[in-house]
Symmetry: C2
Subunit: 451 residues, 2 copies
């Protein structure tokens, strides 16, 4: 199969994995993070906190930080839980751009609920501000909760993706509307720019249009790179056409490998080298000196929420569970009767953990119903997971959601990164100053002739 | 007349003027600023430069910086001139917010070409980031050049202002959707927020709609304040209803007084105290040790452009002028024949300067056809102008466009500000930490019951 050959070639060429850090509400990815000792409960509104977290990731040589967004659908448990996202992803990245040097800056920007010209302007300005470190995670918005904030209902999938293709095409054209050498700024001759290298784009689509040009010259990397997130056939198509990296979500090595391959095949259909698109699934981490310490940390974090999840675990395993007996392992009869749900890709792993004899509380503390694979244990377990997926052709890298964004990032940098570096799987130092450089994405100036 | 009484009261109460700094393309307000010795020609893309300029204004105790915007209509003379505006006003203000402490941060955001929810989010996030120093200059966009970047034509004035009123109302409601004490974040009790103090806004207008709430708690000033710019009856109405400050443009003390009064009367019609709305006309400055030195600096700045302006001056004065005789004053016959154009409010001033016997080049170097009154001379002339307008009830303050944004700001801070302070017309120190505090704008939490 094509991807296996490609992997062998990667290994021969000494290719290394990419690592990104998920930055959200300022506390961390676990709901209880805002209450943890040592965490400032004001971090939700603190730009200092985000800067510090990004700096920690930069210390660990992460290639990028990633800030998801999805405005408005986040107030369900506001009595006890923080919203998931940044107050504003672009303003956060602006602060981080000023106070870091190398790390890439990637944020979600909806193709559904933004004026394309405004998105083009902000991401390009961020790219200038960060000296070539910006990436745009171009996604369609879904959910009527979000749409209602814009006074609308969610368009059909066909419309959303139709508009998304046009929006990305238009924005890349605006980004490219100043040629590589258009900005002369020669005080002696008095020439500010070469007008013949600054061209209107005059794009008129079914959903969006723009005359252009944008009034911003190229950055050190030319223009931002495109990320995409998702796993549907629509996502494969959009990323295959435009993206240099995919923010993925996969629970098994097999699923991740199939996803990665689907994106690579899509890139080929658009005449691209499949290595131009990096598949980066998520990984959640609670790193401690051993499994027990890590489980205790998760229990401290999840607090009262753990018993509430028993019902969900019942469905996953297909057996009744007793939430009054949290500290007992499942009985032999329960384990024998368990049938992992074929509809939940996490179910087999949950049963494996249950069979290891952990108490009901500890099973849940393993994160068996979280959004991504979860490492709850010493750093070497995270490194092993990442190596296995990387070498199996299931991932080009990982985006890390630390449980708590204080010591949770530092412990990854101090305990996981050095192991990966020793194994030759992760770089020792930034090779480049730009995000394109970090990802090996080709230069792009002017308007891409393939589009 | 009402405003005169009010002014007398102001003087009795020892009220002082406000000063703002215009921040645009990073070079300064004169077209030749980018070529001046000592100016880095890369300032157009430099966030360092903007931060330094804002810090200079903060050293001078300016109450705010003001960043106009109007994306896309700026590439006319790109061969020799810089675009007028920031790459992105919000990212610039984000950088400045992190690297200043007190100065207010005001930017234009179009009510015509933005999703209201996105504008609400960014200005509120900036308000949090700056600890209560954000202001939104809410204006409708005009010009088909701008509209074309959004794939549209400019709507009618009725539609633009109709939408603008709805957009501001909706955004203020989103800003107020968290009550003053909604954000509890008590680690001990585990209460993150009071759900009953976070309310959907459910606004449905003719042009825009939103469900809300926004997911951002109040800042140190509660929420950003509204600026408006313009002088039309539509502007009076919009500012009278919503604004705490008006970015004005007036060439004479009489016009400025009439404008100020019109805004105050409009505020009264909406049941507001007219002192809640500050009228702030523009002032352009070239400060040097004497008139001659200042004129020479303007000539250095304007360079080849000065002879190109002779045609315009002919129209203003109603007499033929000879652009081959730039270094001669107008003849007695020319001065006798001159008839200031009744359609140009700058014409009488231009004739006054001509009658002082300056050469044609020097007349133009006085900035007689610039966008605002221009001070070309020693600092005391700026201070005198500001005092006269302030004491005549023509202005609550001024926004300053320095000719060059390096020494042009510093010289204002060092030569004009101390005179105003000595005369008791300008504060010695920031009295407040928030922009509302600087402007004396009342607190606003939750949704304004008057709207």
């Amino acid at each position: 199969m094509a991807y296996n050959e490609s992997i062998k070639n990667d290994a021969k060429a000494g290719k290394q994995m990419l690592i990104g850090l998920h930055l959200g509400n300022g506390y961390g990815s676990q709901p209880g993070a805002w209450r943890m000792p040592g965490v400032d409960p004001e971090n939700y509104t603190s730009f200092d906190a985000r800067v510090k977290q990004a700096q920690a990731a930069e210390r660990g040589k992460f290639q990028f930080i990633f800030l998801p967004d999805g405005p408005g659908a986040m107030l369900t448990d506001i009595e006890t839980e923080s919203p998931s996202f940044n107050l504003d992803v672009m303003l956060t990245l602006a602060a981080v751009a000023r106070e870091t040097k190398r790390i890439g800056l990637v944020a979600t920007g909806s193709t559904t609920f933004n004026e394309p010209y405004n998105l083009a302007k902000q991401f390009k300005a961020l790219d200038i501000m960060s000296h070539g470190r910006a990436g745009w995670n171009a996604v369609t918005s879904s959910g009527n909760d979000v749409a209602a904030n814009y006074g609308r209902v969610i368009p059909s999938s066909e419309e959303r993706y139709g508009r998304a293709h046009e929006v990305i095409q238009l924005i890349q054209a605006l980004w490219g509307s100043w040629g590589k050498d258009a900005w002369v700024h020669d005080q002696e001759s008095g020439q500010f720019a070469r007008k013949d290298q600054i061209v209107p784009i005059n794009l008129q689509g079914k959903y969006v249009a723009s005359r252009g040009p944008l009034y911003i010259p190229p950055s050190e990397q030319g223009q931002p790179i495109i990320f995409h997130a998702g796993g549907s056939p629509n996502a494969h198509e959009m990323a295959g056409r435009f993206a240099n990296a995919v923010i993925g979500a996969a629970f098994t090595i097999e699923d991740a490998r199939a996803q990665r391959n689907a994106f690579r095949e899509a890139a080929k259909r658009y005449g691209r080298d499949p290595d131009e698109i990096k598949y980066i699934p998520g990984l959640m981490t609670t790193i401690a000196k051993d499994r027990r310490a890590a489980l205790d940390r998760r229990i401290q974090l999840a607090g009262d929420l753990i018993p509430q999840r028993v019902g969900y675990l019942q469905q996953m395993l297909g057996i009744p569970l007793d939430s009054t007996r949290m500290d007992e392992p499942l009985s032999k009869a329960q384990l024998a009767a368990a049938r992992p749900s074929p509809y939940d890709p996490r179910a087999a792993h949950a049963l494996k953990i249950a069979r290891e004899g952990w108490s009901l509380r500890d099973i849940l503390a393993h994160g068996v119903i979280d959004y991504h694979p979860v490492i709850v244990g010493p750093g070497v377990e995270a490194a092993d997971h990442m190596q296995a997926w990387f070498e199996a052709g299931a991932a080009d890298g990982f985006w890390i959601s630390a449980d708590v964004n204080t010591d949770g990032i530092d412990v990854f940098v101090d305990e996981v990164v050095p192991i990966l570096q020793e194994r030759g799987l992760f770089h020792q130092e930034y090779e480049s100053k730009t995000l394109r450089g970090h990802l090996g994405a080709p230069d792009q100036y002017g308007i891409d002739p393939r589009v």
